[in-house]
């Protein structure tokens, strides 16, 4: 038995108590990749078929299951660095389940694109990035938040560039990295100014900082604080891809490997949005008069840019990228509405996450299984094995024209895709309808009628965006035969689960709305 301290030390620091139980979802997500990389380095035979995928999806689902067992917890952890409440837990659940789905999509993608050598790295980076996202969602301290955002985004920069033979992916990774680094710098500057104004990085202490004996807050007049808030707002707006900080989104979404696009559009965006909401509500609640106008401008610009510019796009991934900017507009409306909007925010984030994972998943499966066409000399033809196939993934991706006849070639996928697109458009009996309704109702409940009006307008315009895709799949005449392709089972399971959730929660949304109620902090 080794004793580390034989004599009681009067100078000993008070170390925080580690609540292993409450931290376990995060610990699983953070330590599983470390274990994976170590084991696969020592035992090379671990890199076999779908074993890493099963491991990743299993770890993510375990993390989600443990999150579910913590459901009624509500307390601070690690000396107030992290917090466990309904808000955190919903965020953790979205991220963990999202990672499981993405890992299942990645499995077949990696093999098809010829990156089986790197399968461990794809999965490890995915899980570490998700652990960063979980830190962001739970952070109660600006330093923790910043490090979490960096873990989340730096791993994502690498993931975007992992399609090493695709120049457009390299370009996307580089763009994302440069702009992301600048936005991180702006964000860190904001944190520094807020710390300078208040003397604390804890959200709760920032909220009550500088109160004098009369309970007044002298910091309210502090322009230092306001500049800090504005800079942090800019940093967050970049991370969630809100207009006018959105210009990286279409390029990066188009260039990134499609499953990674799904990851960025779902888990990364949700984590950033929830961290955004928590900082704005918990730390800067007293300044809401100052930042609410900025958020509403961001929301309106995102709604308009997402729907209108999206209409001018031909490439499917770019269309979906603009649609995700449009969704950010709704999320920002929910953030604008403060306490009234917390449930709408969580409901929207959750429903949006699995809808968008399903959409990009289907896009990936269609792109990879597109058969050989008669005229075979365009630049999209590449040699895979002994066959010449039309590999849209390693070119610039699928356009609306490539979708012609997709309903005949991929009857199942086209049907599922249509359902998910209807959900994104907010058609009744899909979960997207309830999500959009809640966001608009949240705006109405804080009497932001103009914002609600813009949201409805943007939803109508965006519906055209999605209908164009459905029309291209079903109405463009084409005498294609059903493709003789066997889809990857894991990808199909992930996609079908997303569609089932979309329809099931669309008809009966109570489970999800029960999940997010009482989430206000």
């Amino acid at each position: 038995m080794i004793t580390f301290q034989t004599v009681a030390n009067p100078d000993a620091f008070e170390v925080p108590i580690v609540e292993w139980g409450a931290l376990s979802p995060l610990l699983i997500m953070a330590l599983a990749p470390i274990l994976l990389v170590t084991v696969s380095s020592v035992v090379p035979s671990f890199k076999k078929a779908s074993l890493p995928t099963v491991y990743t999806a299993g770890a993510a689902l375990l993390s989600a299951a443990v999150t579910a067992t913590l459901w009624s917890d509500n307390r601070l952890l690690m000396d107030g660095a992290l917090t466990i409440d309904r808000f955190t837990l919903v965020g953790w659940l979205i991220i963990a389940v999202g990672v499981a789905a993405i890992a299942m999509l990645l499995d077949n993608y990696i093999v098809k694109q010829g990156y089986f050598e790197q399968i461990i790295e794809w999965n490890v980076l995915l899980m570490i990035s998700a652990a960063g996202g979980m830190i962001v969602v739970a952070a109660q301290d600006l330093i923790v938040l910043f490090v979490g955002i960096e873990v989340l985004s730096i791993a994502t920069y690498v993931l975007v560039g992992l399609h090493l033979r695709k120049p457009i992916a390299q370009e996307a990774a580089f763009k994302y990295f440069i702009l992301g680094a600048v936005s991180s710098g702006v964000f860190a500057y904001g944190i520094a100014l807020v710390y300078g104004a208040t003397g604390s990085t804890y959200l709760s202490e920032i909220a009550t900082s500088g109160r004098n004996s009369l309970g007044l807050n002298p910091v309210v007049d502090s322009s230092l604080m306001l500049v800090g808030i504005a800079l942090m707002l800019g940093g967050f707006a970049f991370k969630v891809g809100a207009a006018p900080f959105h210009s990286w989104t279409p390029d990066v979404y188009q260039g990134a490997p499609t499953p990674i696009t799904a990851y960025m559009a779902s888990a990364v965006k949700v984590a950033a949005a929830l961290g955004f909401a928590r900082v704005m509500h918990d730390a800067f609640g007293e300044f809401s008069v100052d930042w609410q106008p900025l958020v509403s401008v961001l929301a309106v610009l995102s709604l308009v840019a997402g729907s209108f510019i999206g209409l001018a796009q031909k490439n499917l991934k770019r269309i979906l990228a603009y649609s995700s900017i449009n969704h950010v507009g709704f999320i920002l409306i929910a953030i604008y509405a403060l306490d009234e909007g917390v449930e709408a925010l969580l409901f929207y984030s959750a429903s949006y996450a699995f809808t968008v994972i399903g959409s990009f998943g289907i896009l990936m499966m269609m792109t990879q299984t597109e058969p050989v066409l008669a005229e075979s000399d365009d630049e999209k033809m590449v040699m895979i094995g002994a066959n010449k196939i039309r590999n849209l993934e390693s070119a610039d991706g699928m356009t609306l024209d490539d979708l012609a006849g997709a309903s005949k070639r991929h009857p199942l996928l086209a049907g599922l895709f249509a359902v998910l697109l209807f959900s994104q458009a907010g058609v009744p009996f899909t979960v997207g309808f309830w999500a959009k309704l809640q966001a608009i109702l949240a705006a109405v409940s804080v009497e932001a009628y103009l914002l609600a009006g813009f949201a409805i307008l943007a939803a109508v315009v965006a519906a055209v965006l999605y209908l164009r895709i459905v029309v291209a799949m079903y109405l463009k005449s084409d005498d294609s035969e059903p493709a003789r392709t066997n889809y990857s089972k894991l990808s199909l399971i992930a996609v079908v689960a997303c569609v089932l959730l979309t329809v099931g929660l669309g008809i009966y949304p109570e489970p999800l709305s029960d999940l997010v109620t009482n989430a206000g902090s």
Binding site: F4, A12, F13, T38, V42
Partner: protein
């Protein structure tokens, strides 16, 4: 700040040494420059192509790894200064941190990122030998000749 005086003195000495060396060589050495003297020397043969200007990407990897382990040492330093007061909890914290960082070291070794020269050549050749391709026969590193070995053909097969 007094403890930095030696560093300052060293700085001044270094600057002086460099300056004096330059000036002295300028003043003392005879300068009889000819074309042959100023031409680059390469084993006595007149170079007919520019030397490659780019570094291999491998060097970058080493620099990157240097930064990573540098940062780890920076974190070890405050722990080492205060380790008596940090007690067992601090010990386990730094242990976990080191484990997390050194796991990437295991990864590096297994990937062969630190193999140089013959070791790496060996690794590459054994990898090629495992997978027969147009550039080598299945058993040895001998290149296939004829149309079969041409790159266009290889691209079609691959």
């Amino acid at each position: 700040m007094e403890q930095y005086l030696p560093i300052f003195a060293l700085l001044v000495l270094a600057v002086l040494f460099a300056a004096i060396s330059f000036i002295a060589s300028r003043l003392l050495s005879p300068s009889l420059s000819t074309v042959e003297k100023s031409a680059p020397y390469e084993c006595g043969i007149i170079p007919n192509q520019e030397p490659s200007e780019r570094f291999p990407v491998k060097f970058y990897l080493v620099a990157m790894l240097f930064v990573i382990f540098d940062i780890e040492i920076i974190f070890l330093y405050p722990w080492a200064v205060e380790y008596m007061n940090l007690g067992a909890a601090g010990y386990f914290a730094i242990l976990l941190f080191s484990a997390l960082v050194f796991e990437s070291f295991i990864y590096l070794i297994s990937k062969g990122a630190l193999d140089w020269g013959p070791l790496q050549l060996n690794r590459n050749q054994s990898a090629i030998a495992g997978k027969p391709n147009a550039f080598s026969t299945a058993t040895a590193g001998v290149r296939i000749v004829g149309t079969e070995g041409r790159f266009e053909h290889a691209k079609e097969v691959a």
